[in-house]
């Protein structure tokens, strides 16, 4: 299956995502350039972490206006899979492919550490290999990951089951001490109403190989890759 990793000027996790898809999951991967007008028939598009355009103005604000994002929006509207990690999540918010906004971390400092996430639903392509309520461990590394929205909007998000990952204590309990950026309701990752676009602040690509001591993130990519290929097979009448 074909995966595209978008490079904005300032993306710095592009190679990391590419590595997981290409060398760990052995997929067909290509880089998409921010000025590309199409996504070159990719079934999964990943917006990687980094500091696109230096995060000048606001995290993800300028990247959301680049030509490739028009193509990404069309892909998302057609039900194609889109994953945004860290700065990629911020781009998805700025592009209004996902609801909400990011503020600076509550402690006003960049934070790099492992966090614990509770998986809220596993009926999405990205989360099919997790159990509901499962607590997984992933690294974060950001200064602007404090998810926020109006109370009614957050209520709506919860009612629609759009919260996918939440920061929790290692035992799975909600705990402000373990919500390092101060996100509203511990929200670490959200999806759109259709469930084909996912954004999260933690980095699944940084915990996808045994040698790094943690593989909790690999299942997310595996799920996306498997799911992306099925509609395609169906469209081709199952032939390969």
């Amino acid at each position: 299956m074909r995966c595209g990793v978008v490079i904005f000027p300032g993306s710095n996790c592009d190679h990391d995502v590419y590595h997981v898809l290409k060398h760990v999951l052995e997929q067909d991967v290509l880089f998409l350039w921010h000025q590309d007008e199409t996504i070159k028939s990719c079934e999964l598009v990943v917006l990687p972490g980094g500091w696109s355009y230096g995060d000048y103005l606001r995290g993800g604000a300028l990247a959301a206006l680049s030509p490739v994002m028009a193509a990404v929006k069309r892909h998302a509207a057609a039900g194609g899979l889109v994953l945004g990690v860290c700065n990629g999540f911020q781009v998805l918010l700025e592009a209004q492919l996902l609801p909400g906004a990011m503020r600076r971390n509550a402690r006003l400092r960049f934070e790099c550490r492992d966090v614990h996430l509770k998986v809220e639903r596993n009926d999405l392509p990205f989360t099919r290999h997790y159990r509901v309520g499962q607590v997984i461990r992933m690294p974060i590394a950001h200064g602007e990951g404090n998810y926020e929205d109006a109370a009614e909007a957050l209520d709506r998000l919860e009612a629609n089951r759009q919260v996918v990952f939440r920061y929790v204590a290692p035992d799975g309990a909600p705990d402000p001490e373990w919500n390092f950026n101060g996100s509203a309701r511990g929200i670490a990752g959200v999806t759109n109403a259709a469930g084909n676009v996912l954004g999260l602040m933690p980095h699944p690509e940084r915990c996808a190989e045994e040698v790094l001591g943690n593989t909790d993130g690999l299942a997310l990519f595996r799920g996306a890759v498997e799911a992306a290929v099925k509609p395609l097979l169906a469209a081709r009448g199952g032939a390969r």
């Binding site: 000027p9 972490g49 500091w51 230096g54 934070e111 790099c112 790094l212």
Partner: protein, 738 residues
């Protein structure tokens, strides 16, 4: 020459002096030219002959370093040293100081320090994959110190995090000798395929010279000269000489340079660091044995009206000089433009051996290159030991612990010096690029070399108090400790870079410290088989007549042959047995115990037995390679007690131990020691291997529980690990008032 047509100040001895040139140097310049220099020529020469660029006081001593070895691909003299790390890969690395700018403007000073060292690495064709920072601050209560700590940490974080290079290690110390002159030493390492290394040698007359990256402004003019001067109350006014960093441009420049290098159309490339366009162009031509003609009116400017003098000396950041193959510059230009960067042809390589600087067709400078670079003045400065050396080294009385052993340990562990540095490294991205197998907080950082079974280990070390008491021994100790730290993760050293921070070379005592440190380091390097492949000298670290302690910071890199058996730096299995390796000699000179608890800073620092260090390092590497040990941690500041506490902190696992030592000896800092923990069935193997290696070894107890208990000659150190850990972990933020 037609330079007279440029409206520039007339140069005389007084003006030369205000540029930092001595009368002899000014006469030497006049001799080289056969006439009076132009204003631009004076500016260029003062920068190139500054201590920072010319190494004029240090050169004769730096020759002592062993610089060759089986792994060395490129030794000192290029932008970074290069070592072979196997499987077709090489690693380029270097450490550099950014002390004065960081004291004047901590955020930008530290940030641009990181930017500069990253460019030194990728200019070699290597992709940076790791940074470390060695920081020395003054006492936390000294004026401005809290804001300096905060500014430096934010500056390093914002820059490295944005470019996306993990900061995987380093060290942070606090001492009053840095109250008026902090140290920021930045290390970077990059990797490349062996055949893809680039060098900064401008060859091929007629080849065009391209200017790439940010536009040139007035920032940082005379930064190199500032770095070659002492501090005084006026230094605050030098803030405009500090450069401003733009990590986003750096990131784009990095990607564009690596991509442009793949075109094969680049002959040579160098970043514009200290002394900007002056040093980059003159050094490239000097290495290539060529000349250069530059039309500096073509240099893209941030604001109109810069003079050739200002253009040549600006230290605006994120700029590179590229020598292209004639006729192929378009291939290079295309890459840079794709990344949204400006690229301009500003001149060409010549065969003249001269630097010809033109401004709108008029000659601003026309000066032979070699006399300014390779043949710059070299000084054999007078050196002499300090008059009070005997007093400094007088054997100190060692008082017994002032309070209970547990409380004594807690007092040490809650000083900024020995407290956890987690507050700092949490603010650095240390996992980006997905190579970090062991990040900050251990003895050495370990990075995966993707596509191979091997790892790269790195550490940064020096103990300035040891160096103050005996610079030769201090220099040896820094190298030995770095080798030991690498051995703790099973790594064999392949090379080191240094950052030699000292006071004014014009003070004989400082020159003596410098020479002694180098002799000590060199001896240790030879004995332990570690070549020096790159480095940097930072003199004039003194404020109002007071010099910092000699601080020869070392960054050492090693190879881990197999990452599969990497031990932790902390206890990780209840029931494991703890074995203490090495011999204690009850040494307290310069120790944390005397210094931090009693304010005594006297005596000879611990002896360094290089043969014993070599044996211990080989033993540790062997034990790790065999997979016999679960945990390895070396003994350094604070001795056995501090090492045990830190081994317990990692997983909150305690231990019950018994050592045949006096209670005070728990804090002795004798060198060549380490702790290992292994399963009970492996104890015999560890003891046997130690005996074969000639390393004293003693089983001292068992890992387990939530309490650390150490019995020493009837006295007992007993402390709850979780509580002590909490006090240690929060010590630094508390001291900072956070």
């Amino acid at each position: 020459m037609s330079g007279a047509a440029l409206a520039e100040p007339r140069v005389d001895l007084e003006l030369a002096r205000s540029h930092g040139l001595s009368e002899e140097e000014y006469e030497r310049l006049r001799g080289v030219l056969g006439r009076d220099p132009t204003f631009t020529e004076l500016g260029i020469t003062s920068a190139l002959w500054s201590e920072h660029c010319s190494y004029k006081s240090s050169r004769v001593h730096l020759r002592e370093f062993p610089t060759s070895g089986p792994h060395v691909v490129q030794g000192p003299g290029e932008n970074a040293g290069v070592v072979d790390v196997g499987n077709g890969w090489v690693a380029a690395f270097k450490m550099e100081s950014h002390n004065h700018p960081s004291y004047i403007e901590p955020y930008q000073g530290a940030a641009t320090g990181v930017g500069g060292i990253l460019r030194d690495v990728f200019t070699m064709g290597a992709r940076p994959i790791a940074c470390m920072d060695s920081l020395r601050f003054g006492e936390i209560d000294a004026p401005r110190m809290r804001s300096l700590v905060d500014g430096v940490v934010r500056g390093i974080g914002d820059y490295g995090n944005c470019v996306g290079i993990p900061t995987v290690g380093g060290e942070t110390g606090f001492h009053r000798c840095y109250n008026g002159n902090i140290l920021v030493n930045a290390f970077a390492l990059g990797i490349a395929r062996r055949e893809r290394i680039f060098r900064a040698r401008a060859t091929g007359p007629g080849n065009p010279i391209l200017y790439v990256g940010s536009r040139t402004g007035r920032d940082g003019i005379h930064g190199a000269t500032m770095a070659s001067d002492s501090f005084d109350a006026e230094s605050e006014k030098k803030r405009p000489t500090v450069q401003v960093g733009d990590p986003f441009t750096e990131k784009v420049l990095l990607e564009a340079c690596l991509e442009a290098m793949r075109t094969g159309a680049i002959v040579a490339i160098q970043d514009m660091g200290a002394a900007g366009l002056t040093s980059s162009s003159f050094e490239m031509a000097s290495r290539g044995g060529t000349g250069m003609r530059l039309d500096v009116d073509r240099v893209p400017l941030r604001e109109p009206g810069l003079t050739p003098y200002e253009i040549m000396l600006s230290e605006s950041q994120e700029r590179m000089v590229v020598v292209a193959q004639r006729g192929r510059q378009e291939e290079i230009e295309r890459v840079f433009r794709r990344w949204g960067l400006e690229v301009t042809t500003i001149g060409e390589v010549t065969a003249s051996g001269r630097g010809e600087i033109r401004f709108h067709g008029q000659m601003a400078a026309d000066i032979p290159i070699r006399p300014l670079t390779d043949d710059a003045p070299v000084y054999q400065r007078p050196y002499a030991p300090p008059a009070d050396l005997a007093e400094r080294q007088a054997e100190p009385e060692v008082p017994a612990p002032p309070v209970s052993l547990a409380e004594t340990l807690e007092r040490l562990l809650t000083t900024p010096e020995l407290g956890s540095k987690e507050w700092i490294w949490r603010q650095y991205d240390h996992t980006v690029r997905t190579n970090t197998v062991q990040g900050p907080g251990g003895d050495a950082a370990v990075l995966l070399l993707k596509g191979t079974p091997t790892g790269l280990a790195m550490t940064s070390d020096v103990n300035p108090v040891y160096c103050y008491l005996d610079p030769r021994r201090g220099g040896m100790q820094a190298v030995a400790e770095a080798v030991r730290n690498l051995a703790c993760v099973g790594a064999e050293p392949v090379g080191l870079t240094d950052c030699l921070n000292f006071g004014s070379p014009e003070i004989p005592e400082v020159m003596w410290q410098f020479r002694e440190s180098i002799l000590g380091m060199s001896e240790a390097c030879r004995e332990l088989g570690v070549p020096v492949i790159s480095g940097n000298v930072s003199f004039y670290n003194d404020t109002e007549g007071r010099s910092i302690y000699p601080t020869p910071t070392i960054g050492m890199v090693g190879l881990v042959p197999n990452l599969g058996n990497l031990p932790d730096p902390h206890f990780n299995h209840a029931g494991d047995r703890v074995v203490l390796l090495g011999r204690d000699r009850g040494e307290f000179g310069g120790s944390a115990y005397l210094r931090l608890l009693f304010g005594i800073e006297r005596g000879l620092p611990p002896a360094v037995d290089l043969e014993a260090e070599r044996q211990l390092a080989a033993l540790l590497r062997g034990l790790v390679f065999e997979g016999v040990v679960h945990a390895v941690h070396d003994l350094s500041e604070g001795g056995l007690a501090v090492a045990l506490a830190r081994a317990a902190f990692g997983r909150g696992l305690g231990a019950r131990l018994r050592v045949p030592a006096t209670p005070t000896a728990l804090f002795s800092e004798s060198q060549g020691r380490a702790l290992v923990a292994c399963s009970p069935g492996m104890v015999d193997r560890v003891l046997e291997a130690a005996e074969e290696a000639g390393v004293p070894a003693l089983e001292i107890g068992e890992v387990g529980g939530e309490v650390l208990e150490v019995e020493a000659s009837g006295d007992v150190l007993r402390t709850e690990v979780a509580r002590l850990r909490q006090a240690w972990a929060t010590a630094l933020p508390r001291a900072l008032g956070l």
